[in-house]
Symmetry: C2
Subunit: 116 residues, 2 copies
DNA sequence: CGGGATCCGCGACGATACTG
DNA sequence: CAGTATCGTCGCGGATCCCG
């Protein structure tokens, strides 16, 4: 057995939850599933993210092997971000969560208001 | 259609991602899927969480209608936490992510070490 | 047993300005 | 276009102690 156990605090499985906990990683991954995107395209598609934070997110995802960064030596410069196989394999579980979110957010909000 | 859009920064769908981003919510939800648990049982099952943070997590999940808190007027006191239907419905997508995490964490870690 | 109260560090995140 | 640099804050989460 070479899998992790999310309930073991010493198990690095937690790092995955940390990634998902990352505010923007999920949105980046969902965005890139349709195909490679450039930096600004990502910025536009994902509302409310600053360049610095988007860069940080992309860099760490690159280090984790979830996506690749390809620079084209052109003028003006062009950089494309592409999901790896690993990144793509994460899309299915994440989109399930996203779908749940879109369907159930109203319930959650109504619960919150009830207790207000 | 009355669903949200995760890519809209003004859409409250983001609150769901924030919940999932919460370090402990996911683990609490996965733990409770087997049935109700008491406070200390949760603490034990989820390693590394302090009482304060666990309380905070449980309270906010209660406000969101994901679980219920039931106090038994006994000595010693007993408090049970139970998932609501809404909470249970979130289990399926989350366990998919957890399964992915357990299977792929090694790949991620090896990627990280390569770039070290 | 199941918390509440308090203090606090630290890192994520943001705003703004600038550059190859 | 695709970032980097700098600065600031903000609140999550941890540590510790205490209580009904």
């Amino acid at each position: 057995m070479d899998t992790g156990d999310v309930f073991d605090p010493n198990c690095p499985t937690r790092v995955v939850l940390d990634r998902i906990g990352d505010k923007w990683s999920v949105l980046v991954l969902l965005s890139l599933d349709d195909g490679p995107l450039r930096f600004t395209e990502l910025r536009t598609r994902i509302g409310g993210v600053t360049p610095k934070v988007l860069t940080q997110t992309l860099r760490s995802m690159e280090l984790d092997g979830l996506l690749t960064r390809e620079v084209f030596a052109e003028v003006p410069p062009r950089v494309e971000y592409t999901l790896t196989d690993l990144g793509r394999s994460l899309h299915a579980p994440l989109s399930a969560v996203a779908a749940w979110a879109e369907q159930n957010v109203n319930k959650i909000l109504s619960y919150r208001e009830k207790s207000a």
